[in-house]
Assembly symmetry: C2
Homo-oligomer: 132 residues x 2
DNA sequence: CTGCATCCCTGCGGATACTG
DNA sequence: CAGTATCCGCAGGGATGCAG
């Protein structure tokens, strides 16, 4: 039986469980937000200040998304200036582990990627020039 | 020295080395392409067939990006029907390791995330209804 | 302070057709 | 077979203003 090693019509990695993960981390804001919470609860305005370049719209959107996926908890303090704290759930914290592997890779291989990029771009420029 | 534990004007995780990694893997096509090459060299048309839903435009774009970052090599066979093979460089292969951690996490926690999502959505619907 | 609503514009990315 | 070029729709996401 089996074998049939040929064809493999479409291995279609597309709709596997991995796509779920992509939905989560494909947004850079999501990853940055998770990292911001690594040290403990974070307030809304704190995110805004710590994550450079994020807009209120994107921050709220990202936070909601993470909450929806059960990665963080929203804690509302009914004080007079309203205060809301966001903290990672255990599920969210568990995601930090593989994330850290990625970060480690990034730090270790950053120079190589940069170099490869520069080489590539340099070659591209030369090619363009020599075409005249 | 040191201490100064206060303020921390902007920890600004934004432009750290991690953003480089995000540039690479934030595209789902890039991750899928890398996985496709895990077993060895892959031809252009093979990508097209194996990665469901990818267009020629996006495929070429993704492949170029990965080549630029030194993650894959393009090998051109000057045969009569032109054949081009793409294979991971050692750098590209090294990325598979942390990627695998992510995949493992995804598979392990998929049910939890799904559940959290469903709960969240259910609550959202109820809230909408009770508002009338 | 925390957020939602609106406007608007850029560019991602799909479809199609053409070339080497 | 392996791309490149062009058109174009649509939504991601920034800026701003308002509300609780």
């Amino acid at each position: 039986m089996g074998k049939r090693k040929a064809v493999e019509p479409d291995i279609s990695i597309a709709k596997c469980r991995y796509s779920l993960l992509l939905e989560i981390i494909a947004s850079k804001w999501a990853v940055l937000a998770i990292y911001a919470m690594e040290g403990g609860a974070v307030r809304y305005g704190e995110f805004l200040r710590r994550i450079e370049g994020v807009s209120k719209k994107m921050l709220t959107q990202t936070l909601r998304q993470l909450e929806r996926d059960g990665l963080l908890e929203r804690e509302i303090h009914d004080t007079v200036p309203p205060g809301v704290e966001y903290r990672l759930t255990p599920l969210g914290q568990s995601l930090i582990v593989p994330l850290r592997h990625m970060k480690t890779w990034a730090i270790a291989h950053y120079p190589l990627v940069r170099e490869a990029r520069d080489d590539y771009d340099r070659r591209a420029v030369n090619a363009t020039i020599s075409e005249g």
